[in-house]
Structure formats: structure tokens, C-alpha cells
Symmetry: C2
Subunit: 109 residues, 2 copies
DNA sequence: TCTATATGTCGTAAACATACGACACGAAAT
DNA sequence: ATTTCGTGTCGTATGTTTACGACATATAGA
């Protein structure tokens, strides 16, 4: 590709885009909701809660981990996934600012 | 692909994902901000404001149009892009609800 | 009429996302 | 010791996104 001109945009917009991408698949939204609901930190039980194959769920978890919205800590033989509250709060703040800054007026044509 | 199991998720999560996808590239965030700032409805001047090729910008505009966050009305020889305020408000509401519903507690492991 | 401007469509190349099966590996139960 | 469970990694097929050049068209002005 000649692709990936993302770096030419302001850091704040890049970061917002990263979070938006993390939320851009219903499975990942479902996973976040699941993690928030079951307050215990869960392992591959997620696979049973989300109607997708184990590998696919793992992949979505990886995407969420890359965006740092979740953490995955090894707890003995199980792995313990949970929402990264710091990062999550940062996302909320960023989105809030973004949506506040975009104040459209419907003056089209 | 065996892909596109998106339909198996709740409609609300699917719609949130659609909006998130629309915001998932810095160029599209930049376009939205530009449209909101320059309160006039703009045409291909966007190409000059966004450091990308004309075709690429058009493509991003198409993605935004698909998510219905913007409209593109033909106004004589020019095309007039602007934010679809109704849809935009719906997005804000959806995100607000979503982020409210995900209330993580940092009790990891 | 010819030209420039504004716009759109098509094609294409490379990268990334989605979905999953198959295999690997270590710890706990039998 | 062998099996099972929880986990992860690899490979792979297909679809989507990103980026852009080349071509097409229609309108306004010289």
C-alpha cells in the first residue's frame, strides 16, 4: 500500500480513532459489556457468553488489548481479562471532548 | 469468508459499532470537525483542508455518508456536504448510553 | 467553441479485519 | 502416566479498507 497516512493527523484525533476502532465491531462492544457486568475477572467463559468461535473471541480480545481498553493478566493457569479503567476513562473523556467540539448546525445548502 | 456474524448481536450494539467505525479513522474525524467548524456547507474544498488525495477524501466522505452521519446534497454544480444533525444526535445518545452502561470496576484478579 | 473547474466513477494494489480449524503446551484431575 | 482443560499460536480463506491514478462528465466562463 501507499497506505497509512494516519500519522499526519493530530495525536488526539489519532487516539480517538484508535478507541473508535476498538468499538467498531458489535462483538467487542458485547465483550466490554460482559466484562463490565460480570464484575469478576473472567477467562474463556467469555467464549460461552459471546456466540463466536473461541479463536475469534480471542482475536477480538487481542484487538481490545491493543487499544489498551482491557488488560489480560495471567492468574495461575487461567487468564484474567478486565477493563482497564484508566484507559476507559481517558476514552470517555476524549469522546466527550470530541462530540462537544463537533457542534453541527443544520444549515445545509 | 465465513465472516459477518455481526447480525447476531443486538441492534443497539450493531448501530453503535456502525458509528464507531465511521469515527475509526483520523481523516474522518478531521472531516467531521472541518464540517462543523466551517459552518457553511462545503464541497471539494475539503480536499484542500485534509492532507489526502481527492479520491481518498471522497471515499472517506462516502463512508461517513453510509453511516448517515453526513449528507451530500447536490447544489447546482457543487456538492454540499454537511453533518446530519439528527443522526449525529442519535450517535451521541447511543455512545452516552453505551459508556454509561459499561461501568467497570477495577477488581482485576 | 474550447477550457477550466467541480465532481464523480472505475480500477487496482497493498494492508488489515473477520472467522475459524488445527496444533501445541502446561497444569490439574484421574 | 494419561487425559482433560484452559489457553495460546499459526495458518488460511475471504472480505473490507485505505490510498490513489486515470478516465468521464457536466456546467460556467473566456
Amino acid at each position: 500500500m501507499i497506505s497509512n497516512k494516519s500519522e499526519i493527523f493530530p495525536a488526539e484525533q489519532q487516539q480517538a480513532a484508535v478507541y473508535a476502532k476498538a468499538l467498531s465491531h458489535p462483538a467487542r462492544i458485547a465483550i466490554l459489556r460482559y466484562l463490565a457486568e460480570t464484575k469478576v475477572c473472567i477467562t474463556g467463559d467469555i467464549t460461552e457468553a459471546i456466540p463466536l468461535g473461541r479463536t475469534t473471541v480471542l482475536q477480538h480480545l487481542q484487538v481490545l488489548k491493543d487499544s489498551e481498553l482491557i488488560r489480560g493478566d495471567i492468574d495461575g493457569k487461567k487468564v484474567c481479562y478486565c477493563i482497564n479503567t484508566d484507559q476507559y476513562d481517558e476514552m470517555k473523556q476524549l469522546f466527550d471532548d470530541l462530540l462537544k467540539n463537533i457542534n453541527p448546525i443544520n444549515n445545509c445548502c
